[in-house]
Each structure stands twice: as C-alpha cells, then as structure tokens.
Amino acid sequence: MREQLLIAAPELWVLLMACVVMTVDVFTSRERRGIIHLLVMLTLMFAAIITLRGDYHSGGTWAVTAFSETFIRDPMSDVLKLFSFAVMALVYTYAKHYLRHFGLYRGDFYTLTLFALLGVMFLISANSLITVYLGLELLSLSSYALVAFNRESKRGSESAMKYFVLGSMASGLLLYGMSMVYGATGSLELQTISETIRNGREGDVLLVFGLVFLVAGVAFKLGLAPFHMWVPDVYHGAPAAVTLFISTVPKLAAFAMAFRLLHSAMGPLHADWQQMLVLLALLSLAVGNFAAIMQTNIKRMLAYSTVSHMGFVLLGLLPASAEGFGAAMFYVIAYALMSAAAFGVLILLSADGVEAENLDDFKGLNHRNSWYAAIMAMVMFSMAGVPVFIGFFAKWLVIKAAIDAGLIVLAVAAVVFSVIGAFYYLRVIKLMYFDDPLNDKAIEAPVDFGAAISLNGILMLGLGLFSSSLIAICMASFSYL
C-alpha cells in the first residue's frame, strides 16, 4: 500500500493542501489573504519537488501503475504535471492582481483552482475509463463554478450556465461511448481494452460506435470544431483570471486524455479514429482562423485562436507515432505558456474596474509601456508561428509529423490556415505599435507580476532559441511506443 501511495504522492499532496487552504481561508481575515497565496505557491513548489523526486526515472522507459491499475505514472504524466505546476504558478501570480483589482480576492478561487488542478493531475494519470471520467468531472465541476465566480456579472453566470449544460452533454456522450467500449471489451482498464481489441475485435462495429462518442467527448474538452461553441462564450463571459486558467492548464489534461483514450485504449482502431480526427482538424483550423479574424473582442479572438491551435495539436495526434505524440505534447505545452502570457498582458491592461477586452485597448501600448508591448508582440509572433519563437517550432513539428504520416493535403491546409491566422495576430501588433493610444495612463503592476510576465515573455523567445531540450523531453516521453 505504501508504494502505491508513493506513486500517487503528488496527487495526495495537492489534495491535502487543497483541504488545508480551504480550512486556513476560513480563519484568515480579508487583509491577510496573502497567506493563502503564499501557501498555494508553496503547494505548487513542493508538488513539483515530490514529482521530481519519484525514483522511477532510472532507465529510459518506465511506467508504474497503482490502485488496481486505475492510476498510471509514466514519463508523459510527470512532464505534463510539472508543466501544469509551472503554468499554475503563472496563473496564480497574474490572477492575484486581477482579483485584487476587481474585489474578487477570495479564498475560494484558490480552493477551486487547486481542486481543478487535482482533476487535471488525475486526468493526466488516468489508466482506466472510470478514472478518466472522474478526473474530467472534477476538473469540469470546478471550472463551471469558477466561470460564475464574479456573481455580480450577468454575463459570467450566463456563460457558466452554457458551459455547464454543454459540458454535461459532452460528459454524457463520453460516458455513453465508454459504456459501449466496456460492453464490447468487458474491461475498464485501458491496456486490457487495447489488448482485447487487438485479439480479433478490430472490425467490431460496436467498438467504432463507442469510439465516435469518445472522440466527441474529447473534441468537446479540447474545444475542436464543431464542438467549439462553448469556447468563445466561456472565454468572453468568465473573469479574465478564470479565462486565463481555463485556456492553459486544462488543455494539457485534455491532450493527455486524448492520448490515453485514443492511443492507450483504442490504439488498434487507429485507422477509424484517424479519419474522424482529420475532419475535426480541418474544421477547427478553418473555423478557428476565419472566425478569429472577425472578432473585435480580444478574449473572443483568443478563444477562436484556441480552436485553431487545438486543430494543430490534432495534426500531431493523427499519425499515432512517437514523433507525432511528442510534437503534439510540445505544442500544448507551448500553447499553455503562450496563452498564459497573452491573458497576463490582458489582465495588466485592465484598469478602473473595467476589463480590457477589446482590441482597441491595445492601441498605442508601445507609447504607454514599451516592455509590455514587446512581451505581447513576442506572444503574438509566437502564436502566429513566426520563426525563432516557440510557436514556430511547435507548428513545424506537428506539420512534419503529419507529412511523415502521408497526410500531405492536411499539412498544406494547416500551413495555409496558419498564414491566414497570422493576419489577426499581426493586427494586434499593428495596433500596439502604429496606432495612437486611447489614454495615456501608465501601466502599473506589482513586482511579482512584472517579473512573472517578463519571464513568461522571454520564454517565448528563449524556448524558441533553445527548443531542442524541451523537444527532446517531449519525444523521450513517448520513446516506448
């Protein structure tokens, strides 16, 4: 039992600290809420240390399971968890500034996000259909409440309701698919499912039937067209601090979920799900990029840009090869960092109780503060896929994976759409550098915020210039395939 608990030590630590934070919050007065922030940051730090200290890393390929095979720890899960912690630290640093500014600085934000992080971790480490589902529900339930976090905001409540209804339906689809897969294979454990299918069940229509619903559930969580309807509304309606969270860490989990369900469990049906994903990828790239061009609200623009980015992630998943999965993993990690920086700058521009959410708010940012404008410019270049920035290498790797798999048409389409997409990213840069500012108010940020966003911005360039080590880590996570 002790060994099993040690395998899941990071999860247990986060669970423990979520409960501690919840309790401490009750006894902390409003003025001393900084304690909670500090406590959460320490939680993340120690969670990272605990994850790193797991002595399973000896030897190139390893994977340990615990709790009757419902939980798995492998290189991919450790890397994704470490990046989840790092991105969460950025999220908390940015969110604190926002929450203070809008009178939302309450302990429940920290409790709910920690529980959501726990859901992310379980989802990343899930090794049975039931753990996948429960991790997903833990993450989703916390997210629904977070979207409605600002109770004064009507738009927030409305989008939370939409998110909840659509999310429940997606969970229903996913469960229906899981029940079909369970019915056909008689097992919930992912490896057993895959083995059963391989032993002469490849042509089973019932399995493909279940697979359709699994893919629909995964597509909803990743926000792929045509299951993307919730993305713009939720990004727009939620407080920027929550949008910041929703657009970053859960994407890492959604990638892990896609890998576990599609490859670990349904790997033998690769030919079937590849066709579905090709369609989803094409639609996402088209819908995401064209719709983003038409937006004047930057939160909605970034929402549609998420849809297209997730389309790119699919390009990496399609070949079902080690290189492909590594490329897709690198892409989601890069995307999480880019998205964190973009929403960080957005939070920075919010002033006087009004969220900066229109493209006009970026006008003349260079005149107001050239460093923050430079950071935003780096993020936009990176999202557009301009060389030397991290986003370029991410796009290059997934497109290369698609070409290696013989999906030339799709790769060409991806390149064309990324050129179209470059328009709306470059438009932000044009607004920042060539337009006159609407107001001349100086932009103020606390020291930790400034340091975090600077680091985040520099990472766009730094991880681009020195991308090889991160790429190597991502590729090594799948070397056992």
């Binding site: 899941a8 669970l15 615990a66 429960l134 529900e137 916390s142």
Partner: protein, 208 residues
C-alpha cells in the same frame, strides 16, 4: 402458450420507462414532469432488479425517488416558474429537432439493430447468480479494493460540489436577518433574562 416471464417484465417496464421519459420533457406542468421522472426512475429500478443488481435498484428508489426527487418537487413548487418563456420557440425549433433526432436514431439503429452485431448470440446472457449471493457485499468489496481511487475521487467531487455551491450563493448582504451562532453561544444570562421583584398578591386580590 408459453410466455417468458423475464422478457415480458422487461418489455413492460421499458415501455413504461420510455413513455414516462417522453412525458417528462413534453408535459406542460413542471410538477407533473417531476412526477413522471419518478416513474422513469422506478421503472429503471425494476429493470435493474431483472439484471440481479438488487442493491442498485434499491439505492435508485431510496436515493433518487425517495430523496432527490422529493427535494426537486419542493424546489419546483417553491419557485415561481413562468412557463411561457420556457415554451417559446418550441414550435419553430421542433422540425429541426425532430430531423436531427430521427437522423441520429436512424444512424444508431443501423449499428445496433442487426442481430449478428449486437444480439444475444455475441453477448450471451450471463449465468444467474446462486441464491444467497449478496449483491451489496460484492459491490462493497469492489468499491473498497479495486475501485478505491475512483471512489475517493468521487468523494472529492462531492466536496467540490459543496464548495462551489457555497461560493456561488454565500454572500453578505445588509438588511438580512441571520443567525450568529458564536454570538448565541457567548450570550450571558443577564442579557436575556431580567428578574423583576413583584409583590405577591393575596387570593382576594388585595396586595399586602
């Protein structure tokens, strides 16, 4: 004629279940809808009994029919729901809805209807459990051994539900009368009770 009893019971209850489920979403009055939902759950419990899942059947009746739906009825009756906006656009969306539903049903039937894919020949009926097998004990044993981790995560999900509910509803408003337990506990006798000396009276009404 020989009537197979399990099949008869299954078709009877599944017919009631589907019919009641349709009524839940079509009936105008939300109280009736909730009552039809009770009927749906009840029929589902009967089908579960047929599958030898006695514990689940009882839990469904006790928890859903007994507790959740009663609570639901309370909420429905207490809230002043205006029915008109709920029905708005029903007719205009109906054709599209029916078309999509029919399409999906047809697609699913193509997969499921054929006997060689989904029939009892491929997925045979499992042998009946011996008399005296405890359904509850078997479930409990699995829940606390093989499914320990999922069970615990489910517990955390419930905790999150509580935290979310509090986050979304708890607010401090002025002008609301509420209890303050700590104040109530700390109260002293002197603040609540005032002893007054009153001169006693004699039976005939005259004071001494």
């Amino acid at each position: 004629m020989d009537i197979p009893i399990p099949q008869t019971v299954f078709y009877l209850f599944s017919f009631i279940m589907v019919a009641a489920a349709i009524m839940v979403i079509t009936v105008r009055n939300p109280v009736y809808a909730a009552l039809f939902l009770v009927l749906t759950f009840f029929s589902a419990a009967a089908i579960w009994l047929l599958l030898e899942a006695e514990f689940l059947a009882i839990v469904l009746v006790v928890v859903y029919v007994g507790a959740v739906m009663v609570l639901f009825l309370f909420v429905v009756m207490m809230l002043d729901i205006n029915l008109a906006p709920l029905k708005e656009g029903f007719v205009s969306y109906l054709p599209v809805g029916i078309a999509v539903a029919l399409l999906m049903a047809a697609e699913m039937l193509v997969v499921v209807w054929t006997r060689d894919r989904f029939g009892p020949e491929i997925y045979p009926v499992p042998a009946a459990a011996e008399a005296g097998t405890s359904n509850t004990a078997a479930l409990g044993e699995l829940l606390y051994t093989n499914f320990l981790l999922p069970f615990e995560i489910a517990g955390v999900i419930l905790l999150v539900a509580i935290v979310s509910a509090v986050t979304l509803t708890l607010r401090k408003r002025s002008g609301v009368r509420s209890q303050s337990p700590s104040h109530q506990v700390r109260v002293k006798r002197d603040e609540r009770v005032r002893l007054v000396d009153i001169a006693s009276e004699s039976p005939d009404g005259r004071s001494d």
